[in-house]
Amino acid sequence: MQIRQKRLTRSAGGDFVIFFVLFLGAAFSALPLVFAISNAFKPLNELFLFPPQFFVRNPTFDNFRDLFVLMGESWVPISRYLFNTVFITVAGTGGHVLMASMAAYVLAKHRFPGRDVFFAMVVLSLMFAYQVTAIPNYLTMSALGWLDTYAAIIVPAWSSSLGLFLMKQFMEQINDSLIEAARIDGASEFHIFWRVVMPNVKPAWLTLIILSFQSLWNETGGRFIYSEELKTLPYALNQIIQGGVARAGVGAAVGVIMMIVPIAVFVLNQSKVVQTMGAAGINK
């Protein structure tokens, strides 16, 4: 590699230590992922061997087949759970990207009273765990009559603060002259936002899509959703896993299925996400 050869500050011993530590870290990181994949393909007798076998020897699709049988037996058809999860994910993510981008645009490029206070509140909200607001949010949902509706999950997702923060920091990099030029041409603010700013922050909205997708895809509905026909896919799959030790193989199959989607989405957009994160600094 070119950079490495140019640097005067590199030693072979240091290289060795780094590769060794990286190898250990990567192995530790991959262990449960590989274990889940391996278990998902194990036939029943291999799951309960003594001494245990980490890797599968006779891979089979039995666990996935069992999973589909179990899903077929559920009281609400599994397609309904899947629809709920997809609907919540799409509506929540779409609304979040649009609203956060609109707000980020004016926070980054306009000056108006209250702007700095508002952004300071957004940064402050990154500093505490969501559990702090859990109880009042439950009461708010109850007062609005949104308990046991999609809105209880979707609407709060629209106002996620990490997404707004990343988008605003990224938009600040856009050259002001671009916006000024459009303004002189007589473009409306909405036109500038939609036609000038948004096409220039594609990495950032892809990142917002991914972050929002990851959290909503794993949403179980928790305290907000009671009706079986409004429950989500992760909820249904968790119910299947809780069938006990005999479901160990099916549980691993569920884990693999749920993990593949967010990981695939991330892989496809990895470089865009990293590019966006580069703007995510705080200067104090």
């Binding site: 990567a26 402050l124 909200s125 559990q131 702090v132």
Partner: protein, 314 residues
């Protein structure tokens, strides 16, 4: 400063300033239209809840009757009469003090180590380290690895190799619970901060390193301390915020691992205590007091860490 000078005629000036402010707001009404959709929901679901929690923490409220004002009683009960809460506070501090800085350093060091690798290798390792944080509830695989009978893989191997002669109750024995939970949380902690650090390292001007080598920077540790870290201070600040928040919020992942309540409350945290009173006992006033304590603790931790980081490399 100008209090005395202003004193004789405060009203007209105040009115003028107010009028000017209103004029400014009117001129910028387009900005507010853009901000409104996000802003309304942000205030409704993030700002207002903090204020409501503070208000409710001074009341007794069971969701059936109207809240009644009890002043400081919830807080007095928390700190003077609730032994389990004090255990939870102790565990939360141990947990946050270990996982917060460790996860932060892990994010930074792995990002730093993969920085100079070939872009394809770097992308692969980034995915490998980041994957645990986005793989949903796959962390529950750890419960199978550490299952307390001979079917648990770790116990199975230890028994087979003759290191132990009876299975260890990893997730129910108070001595093992906390270390294991910390390992699992660290495993899934290379999330947003990790990506931010990778991006920050990629953005550093390479000529700084060449200049540094000429100026007598001898090895990569010196390079890290004198050039790399000061150049990515904004990312380090942001990463710290995310790591601290995560180390407090991680209690959500502890509960499925060790059960609720954990044996002897050995892995009981403030968040678990909050869920106990909020979701199970419906003592909303008391639970709100717990939430307010958690909120103040987290903000204080953030402020302290930011102060430390702002001195970095000075």
């Amino acid at each position: 400063m100008s209090m005395l000078a202003r004193a004789p005629r405060p009203r007209p000036q105040f009115r003028l300033r107010l009028a000017a402010k209103l004029e400014e707001i009117k001129e910028n009404r387009v900005s507010y239209v853009f901000l409104a959709p996000y802003g309304i929901f942000f205030i409704l679901f993030t700002v207002l809840p903090v204020i409501i929690a503070i208000g409710l923490s001074f009341t007794h409220y069971n969701m059936l009757q109207r809240p009644t004002w009890v002043a400081w009683q919830n807080y007095l009960r928390l700190f003077l009469a609730d032994d389990v809460f004090l255990i939870a506070v102790k565990n939360t501090f141990i947990f946050a003090i270990i996982t917060g800085p460790l996860s932060y350093l892990l994010c930074l060091f792995f990002a730093w180590m993969i920085n100079e690798l070939h872009p394809k290798v770097r992308a692969f390792l980034t995915l490998l380290f980041y994957a645990p944080s986005i793989s949903g509830n796959l962390y529950l695989m750890w419960t199978i690895l550490f299952s307390p009978d001979s079917y648990g893989y770790v116990n199975g191997f230890l028994l087979y190799w003759g290191i132990i002669d009876s299975p260890i109750q990893f997730l129910t024995d108070p001595r093992w619970m906390m270390p294991l939970v910390i390992v699992v949380v660290l495993w899934m902690s290379l999330g947003t901060s990790f990506l931010v650090f990778i991006a920050g390292l990629q953005g550093i001007d390479q000529t700084l390193y060449e200049a540094g080598a000429v100026d007598g920077v001898k090895n990569r540790i010196q390079e890290l301390y004198y050039i790399t870290l000061p150049s990515m201070r904004p990312q380090l600040m942001f990463g710290a915020i995310m790591s601290i928040t995560q180390s407090f919020a991680a209690a959500g992942q502890i509960i499925p691992l060790v059960g609720f309540p954990s044996t002897d409350y050995a892995a009981h945290t403030v968040v678990a205590h909050l869920l106990d009173y909020g979701n199970i006992r419906f003592e909303m006033g008391y639970a709100s007091a717990i939430a307010v304590v958690l909120f103040i603790t987290m903000i204080a931790a953030q402020r302290i860490v930011q102060r430390i980081l702002s001195r970095l490399g000075d």
